[in-house]
């Protein structure tokens, strides 16, 4: 077992375990911390695939900005395990778990025998994910969507301010 495989299995188990704990933990603050751990594991996968730009952006945007925003909102509302709304109907819990599990089962069963899935993924080398290549691509072929996304951010900012403003 090579070092890359060991890293792959370690990061996969870390990501899946933390994702399960996001759903399972009672306190919302613990859920957020486990989700940050999941995002770090996914960033580790990006590094393993040599997609360095996306790994850095994932840490900055997701684990940095978005999860701090979540933590800020949870602490603003002073949510904890006592104020957590409980699912009173036990059957809805079982139905949710069974339908999600059968989704997993159906997709795995459908993809198991396909031919293309035995192709190899390039690990740990290849220059496609470096900042130079992606920057050239982003500012030549995708410059128009890049500018449009600034308009999206502006509208999201205005929308957040308008929604959270006290009416009247």
């Amino acid at each position: 077992m090579s070092a890359i495989e060991i890293m792959f299995w370690f990061l996969s188990i870390l990501a899946l375990g933390a994702a399960v704990m996001v759903v399972a933990s009672k306190s919302p603050v613990y859920s957020i911390l486990f989700l940050i751990l999941t995002f770090f594991a996914i960033s580790g996968h990006y590094i393993l695939l040599n997609a360095q730009f996306l790994a850095v952006v994932n840490v900055i945007v997701y684990a940095g900005a978005i999860m701090v925003l979540f933590l800020f909102v949870v602490m603003l509302m002073n949510l904890n395990a006592e104020s957590e709304p409980h699912q009173k109907n036990k059957w809805l819990l079982y139905i949710g778990g069974i339908s999600g599990g059968s989704l997993l089962l159906v997709i795995v069963a459908a993809l198991k025998k396909t031919v293309a899935t035995t192709q190899l993924v390039q690990m740990n080398n290849g220059e496609v994910g470096l900042i130079k290549n992606l920057g050239i691509k982003l500012f030549t072929d995708y410059v128009f969507p890049f500018e449009i996304s600034s308009v999206l951010f502006l509208s999201a900012m205005i929308g957040a301010v308008v929604i959270s403003k006290k009416e009247g």
Partner: protein, 109 residues
């Protein structure tokens, strides 16, 4: 590493997100599970990008970089979505003093 490991990992993460959306009632946790599903899709896009890069490396050394640009745009859209969504949740908490989504099962009152 064959690509089906990444496919099954991403499908498992996505299913955990689906289960979380279905069984939890806290609006913030539901929102976080949506983020988890987005990240599963991102991971799969990057894995497919590297798979095609492996296949096309001899012909075109910068092939299959479009998927990684797409992942970048997904992150951009997710950041905008989170800011508006959390504003909506804060407004809902201010009106109902709870983050339980079952309080919102009717449009009136």
């Amino acid at each position: 590493m064959p690509v089906y490991y990444y496919i099954f990992l991403a499908v498992a993460l996505f299913s955990i997100g689906v289960i979380g959306v279905l069984i939890r009632r806290n609006a913030i946790i539901i929102f976080m599970c949506v983020e988890l599903m987005l990240n599963a899709a991102n991971l799969l896009l990057v894995a497919f990008s590297k798979m095609h890069h492996q296949a096309l490396m001899k012909i075109n050394p910068t092939a299959a970089s479009d998927a990684q640009v797409f992942v970048f745009f997904i992150m951009v859209v997710a950041a905008a979505e989170v800011s508006v969504g959390l504003a909506i949740i804060v407004m809902m908490y201010r009106n109902t003093h709870s983050v339980d989504v079952n309080f919102l099962n009717r449009l009136k009152n």
